[in-house]
Symmetry: D4
Subunit: 253 residues, 8 copies
Amino acid sequence: MDEKQVTALFEAVKQGELSVADAVSRIRALPFQDVGGFARLDHHRSLRCGFPEVVFGQGKSPEHLIHIINQLNQSTEKVLVTRLAQEAYEQIKDYIPAEGLYDPTARIYRINRSTETPLPGILVLSAGTSDIAVAEECAQTAELAGNDVKRIYDVGVAGLHRLLAYTRELQQATVIVVVAGMDGALPSVVGGLVDVPVIAVPTSIGYGASLGGIAALLSMLNSCSSGISVVNIDNGFGAGYLASIINHQSIHA
Amino acid sequence: MDEKQVTALFEAVKQGELSVADAVSRIRALPFQDVGGFARLDHHRSLRCGFPEVVFGQGKSPEHLIHIINQLNQSTEKVLVTRLAQEAYEQIKDYIPAEGLYDPTARIYRINRSTETPLPGILVLSAGTSDIAVAEECAQTAELAGNDVKRIYDVGVAGLHRLLAYTRELQQATVIVVVAGMDGALPSVVGGLVDVPVIAVPTSIGYGASLGGIAALLSMLNSCSSGISVVNIDNGFGAGYLASIINHQSIHA
Amino acid sequence: MDEKQVTALFEAVKQGELSVADAVSRIRALPFQDVGGFARLDHHRSLRCGFPEVVFGQGKSPEHLIHIINQLNQSTEKVLVTRLAQEAYEQIKDYIPAEGLYDPTARIYRINRSTETPLPGILVLSAGTSDIAVAEECAQTAELAGNDVKRIYDVGVAGLHRLLAYTRELQQATVIVVVAGMDGALPSVVGGLVDVPVIAVPTSIGYGASLGGIAALLSMLNSCSSGISVVNIDNGFGAGYLASIINHQSIHA
Amino acid sequence: MDEKQVTALFEAVKQGELSVADAVSRIRALPFQDVGGFARLDHHRSLRCGFPEVVFGQGKSPEHLIHIINQLNQSTEKVLVTRLAQEAYEQIKDYIPAEGLYDPTARIYRINRSTETPLPGILVLSAGTSDIAVAEECAQTAELAGNDVKRIYDVGVAGLHRLLAYTRELQQATVIVVVAGMDGALPSVVGGLVDVPVIAVPTSIGYGASLGGIAALLSMLNSCSSGISVVNIDNGFGAGYLASIINHQSIHA
Amino acid sequence: MDEKQVTALFEAVKQGELSVADAVSRIRALPFQDVGGFARLDHHRSLRCGFPEVVFGQGKSPEHLIHIINQLNQSTEKVLVTRLAQEAYEQIKDYIPAEGLYDPTARIYRINRSTETPLPGILVLSAGTSDIAVAEECAQTAELAGNDVKRIYDVGVAGLHRLLAYTRELQQATVIVVVAGMDGALPSVVGGLVDVPVIAVPTSIGYGASLGGIAALLSMLNSCSSGISVVNIDNGFGAGYLASIINHQSIHA
Amino acid sequence: MDEKQVTALFEAVKQGELSVADAVSRIRALPFQDVGGFARLDHHRSLRCGFPEVVFGQGKSPEHLIHIINQLNQSTEKVLVTRLAQEAYEQIKDYIPAEGLYDPTARIYRINRSTETPLPGILVLSAGTSDIAVAEECAQTAELAGNDVKRIYDVGVAGLHRLLAYTRELQQATVIVVVAGMDGALPSVVGGLVDVPVIAVPTSIGYGASLGGIAALLSMLNSCSSGISVVNIDNGFGAGYLASIINHQSIHA
Amino acid sequence: MDEKQVTALFEAVKQGELSVADAVSRIRALPFQDVGGFARLDHHRSLRCGFPEVVFGQGKSPEHLIHIINQLNQSTEKVLVTRLAQEAYEQIKDYIPAEGLYDPTARIYRINRSTETPLPGILVLSAGTSDIAVAEECAQTAELAGNDVKRIYDVGVAGLHRLLAYTRELQQATVIVVVAGMDGALPSVVGGLVDVPVIAVPTSIGYGASLGGIAALLSMLNSCSSGISVVNIDNGFGAGYLASIINHQSIHA
Amino acid sequence: MDEKQVTALFEAVKQGELSVADAVSRIRALPFQDVGGFARLDHHRSLRCGFPEVVFGQGKSPEHLIHIINQLNQSTEKVLVTRLAQEAYEQIKDYIPAEGLYDPTARIYRINRSTETPLPGILVLSAGTSDIAVAEECAQTAELAGNDVKRIYDVGVAGLHRLLAYTRELQQATVIVVVAGMDGALPSVVGGLVDVPVIAVPTSIGYGASLGGIAALLSMLNSCSSGISVVNIDNGFGAGYLASIINHQSIHA
């Protein structure tokens, strides 16, 4: 029910072309969602979960992926496919736009024709080298969303001096994403060193009592440091997307 | 930065082989030289967990509480005591500053002599009336941190139209905190309606398979909506503190 | 935005008392939820969770309970308060309508001035005598919702012949609620004997590895019998409400 | 012990062909289960778990599947094989009735020679596209059970307006099945919009803290909306079967 | 449907006093459970869960307990009330048979007028002194069931020589019940020393990661020793009852 | 330290061939375990976990299996290999005794040259056809241990009359093993019909909230029927071994 | 079977006072545990779990406590009662030795008449002030076991500089106990700074997703730092006892 | 240590107002001055997690492994690669130093050019033969760290006499590592026999309710024996590393 349609109804009633009863009945027949300010939601939330420009690649058939990617490529200037395993990419690469880039570590395929200037401010940390896959999913998502992302990897708490060597970088960021598996202790330490939002991403890296990332998740949720919030295990995309929102509405943007 | 290296630097300076400025610069390049900037951390993080101005009241003896509160009151202009049950407050109220306000719902005692103008932008939602205690802990923490907080309570997804009636308020916020127990579904719906950071706070409200808030926590971590992150069950303080950080560094601040 | 309001707007435009632009603007200012077919939702869902006529008594203060009950009593012909412990009832009984009935087993207080004829069809079974509290919460909820409820208690699978003695009653019901704690095995057996919907309610009755009802809940979710669905642990209200919906739309209603 | 057999016994005694003692002894020798009203159970429950016409295909050998399907096909007019992976189907398709239809999404093979008119009333919703496999298992089960099933897919709560566009369909259904993974929030929202039974089906879609569907399951069990009950994770068959029972005994049937 | 009733029916048909049709109809009206061999079940299972002679005292009101105990006392020669806390006993002791014995450790009240000779063969072990309450519930249950029970307490694996001092007693038992909390390791060791059935009873004794007895339960279920089976946490009654069954059907009985 | 060795020491001392001090010292040097009555344990427990005659096949290399089986075959008259997958058997079958029998359902390879007469008394039930693999592991273990095992399969509680048709068999057994996955409800029903020990074996059959057999396990531990104890998930061997112990020491043996 | 007894037996045989057969028979009648080197175990393990000198106070009656404490006091020079709540102490303090000291924080009562010189080397850290109760249980246990214990409390990772200020103390310890609740991150950081054994003690301090200490426990078990091992939640006693063993056998002892 | 302070120090040294030694000493006294000693940490902790000489092989690509191993081999005299599956080793063996040894059981590849004399004192026990892989990871880690490791395998509590035969070895060790899956009972028994530190390593060996090692882990954490601490499931490396630390600082070293 956008403004034009409603105005037209009132005009028709005013002109006597439509009875009041018919007008009321037509309003009720309009799709609920078109009412009010929500019509523009589709545009605003173009990078959202389930929305056209972002494709969760895992579990989709090659045919399905090829179809979606090419369709998106015609209507948008950015395409992001996450959780796309190397073997899946190999199967489809000849049928999707060659301008797209594939990164096997992040398992991301992306097309970016945007000419916006990337916004600095996001810092992505990883505790170990095994966490880099998730960290890259986060960083590359944020890059596609228009950010210039700084990365500092392999700075886990077992070797504290490595992290402390980057004090300056920590304090210059607008928002920090901390990716860690196993004990999930890094966000607590980082949260104690900075005064900006810290997004903690537990990873499924570990074995035994790591319970597929549950240990790291619980540790992060129970962090004593303030300013920390947590996303799902291995959810690099979600962290990158949220970091981008915070960064773009920051005073430095 | 071992002893030999440092000694060599001093020797070189003493011998005039190295300028003081160069020596200082070299020290900073050594591991741990970034230590420098941490001296001021104590100041920056004055509202942090375990730091003077914020007291986690639960489990502390009356004597301990009276001592801490009065001591804080002398050195700072803001005091925040969280998780202070009504009975605990009754026991100490005659021995702590009368200018402090106690709210039995939020279980918060606070003193605020700051004259700053509160910053609008934070919106706190609760799914049910039983979630209001946690929502108020969040809102009042954010208020003490210098924010003008808007509240909309009892807008759970079982009565969707109640939430949708506040579309405008949702879209005007800089950051939204969503407090919900039981099914924890509200953040997913809110996250789909806005384009700002959404901080989800699961509460322990519920029974049976709510598992003391674990059901709501898991639901929130698995939200399909983007832009959502989660804090610990019942952690109103943490959400309020994080919301304040995001709000104060926002472009509207 | 109910029909009258919208009609009035169109009439005013037709009469020239209101400009089209003003009419459009007023429509947008009306609460979102009143649009379209949802206006009648408030009426339809009068027994819903969080809606006026049903009060979850647990955790509410005496003052709060007295206020809500009296207010409801003025506007509706049915009042239902669940999870109202005997002690809580004793504290408020002199301040609430004397025509209300309190049942300490079901922990339910209810007022019913409706003159409708109760609809037969609902059968409530309990596995043990300890499950009767939850079974009664279910049965009395369904009664208030206009049903004539049959109860058969203490027919757990450890004494199968007791259950089988009621074969006729089982086969005459339109919908059966089965309340069971401990091993939660009764719904599976009942589901194998009938061809109507079976609503399984796990209870927190048990000890040790019953995990507060989780054992019964899992057993019910994994039932091999078809036609079974499950509600939350101890959720007698939910089962009674759902049974009433199914019964009222049944061919026998 | 069906009616004919018992009648024959009495007749024989009446005719003096059999002594009373022998008759009593023969009754005791008859299989226990054939007594009384249960004889017709086998017929009534022909679509039940473990009963002839429904085959749980997963884990069965090709030889076993071929044998069961062909045997069923001779004695019944409907055959339903669930959880039959595409590879398994390919292995057996040349040895089973060609009139049967296989759907790789639902992983269902079905034969239907029934000429009954399908009964409308069942609506199946899915939150995401990944939930469609389970939704189809549900829908096709209900179709085989004699229903005309309406489907609305990909209407998760992250894009609320998509769901709200189907308000009319929601309010016209007799029973609604809601299939959702991840946060499992959709049933709560749907339950708040309608007044008919809602059967919630959690799916194992998700990762990390979705715990293979446990997060969605817990969320659904804790729904604040009334009228909701839950079946096992990925149990599309169970939901479709239950929906059919409810639909067939509804006043509209 | 006992033999007399059926015989009478046939006789009446034979005599022409009853038509065949009426006879068939009467058979169908008889309670299902009375058919066949099950009539004697009530007698056989007199010590069963939920059956008259055994009362689970926990959670029952004083009035209820007094009523049940006195009623049982009139019809049986043995009465067993388990989980009867000392305070509960104090409240009812003046209103129940004085010949009954109450043991505050086992939380058992029992009346035994039987003159049978107790059967030796059952050995009950406990790992610690804190496990004795559960061990006594087991031992006294078995005693009431007609056994002469030997007890060896506080022989946990941390002091192995204490257990090994009782090698002879271990090897002379017909069935051994092993009660243990914390690490639940004792049954594995005992199971390795004997060749008779070992019933393991986990207790809720412990703290932290004992998870209310779950740690001991899991340890026992995973025992490498053969001949071990497990009952619910703190289920001394169940173990004592099962031990009695095994002992009474043993070759030594 | 067997009797002969000790006697020899005393004799030597008596004869003056050995000093008292040397004798004491030699006693201390003897392996601890040979002391006292334990020497015969090795013989008694020949079928135990980890002991020669029983081999847990899963995870062992072909070479290892071939070596163990042939070695055992020379020293004992019975060999039992459990959890031996068909593929593993195919790899080794040409290198192990041809007299051994392999059953792919039970995944058991066994050699039995014993001429003992099998002892009747054990009854093995399974709830579904998918539980038969575990049921056979149990039954064949018990057979090798010298029992004549009766099997009744596919008598789950969803079709109660199928179970009740075997009332006679249930009541004639000395010990009953009940194997069930999914809801694990069968042991509770069986335990209510008989008065002999019931060994419950949960299986990992199921999906979703069956949690790999945990749902069935918890249900069985919480059974209201008495006389039931539980072994680990899928532990057919353990149940068969325990059943054999109970059967062999029964009065009917 | 201590040396004297065995020697006496051999002497008697040598002297002809005892036949060889009788001697062998007497050896077999001696308690098993007295054999060999184990006789001294009782002495060695005098501070062990369940052994005389250490009493787990929780759940014991006042009478029981008074009896044990006074009995121990006569036979040993050290008495340790752990988990003794203040109220419990108040009830018994007039009946136990006045020389004993009670500390309400550690909930420990201890008597120490030993004159040994305490051994330095143990350092006990706590993350927060709420963890001090457990840290003191640890420290005071170690003190009673003969150690001079250094404490550094409230040095959680949220304020890293506080911990780093104690670098010297960390590096001088022989063994470090780290007590932490909530995120359990401190042991990982400490383990990265030192090269001595680190014993991690999770505490039940926290709320919500701390799950009574499970979050901290899992985090510690998954620590990436080497040299860390973990004891049960809140097990200050166990950590103090183990630290003492390690310290006393260290090269510095 | 901020810039001004450091500059002032250099100026003072340059001016001759401060000796170099005093300046160095003052730097060490500044906040974070304790930093000083950390430079050597890199050396001390050379065998740590994430540090050069130890490589966690699992999940790394062949190229990555070849690169790291060869690089390490040039700079250190010891290289340790853990969790290196046989197939992974086969792929890289031609490209890595031939002097390295690979053990398929321990899944360890190691190079050791050190000429130090291995230190005796460490004893590694395993409960079953299936636990040997983890036990070897532990033993070989400790060997590379300079220890002479004694192994006693397959001494689980189900056959207690096997363990007791090694009493002497148990009592001669400086530190004992106990590796056990399934019931995890062995450490409790061992802890009761010795007075040295016992490091318990749960393994993922088992099935069903072993929950991938969680059962053994919980059992070990709840051990009643003192002197026991626990590492992560299957963490043989961590246990071997910790054992080496304890052994090297022991009085016998």
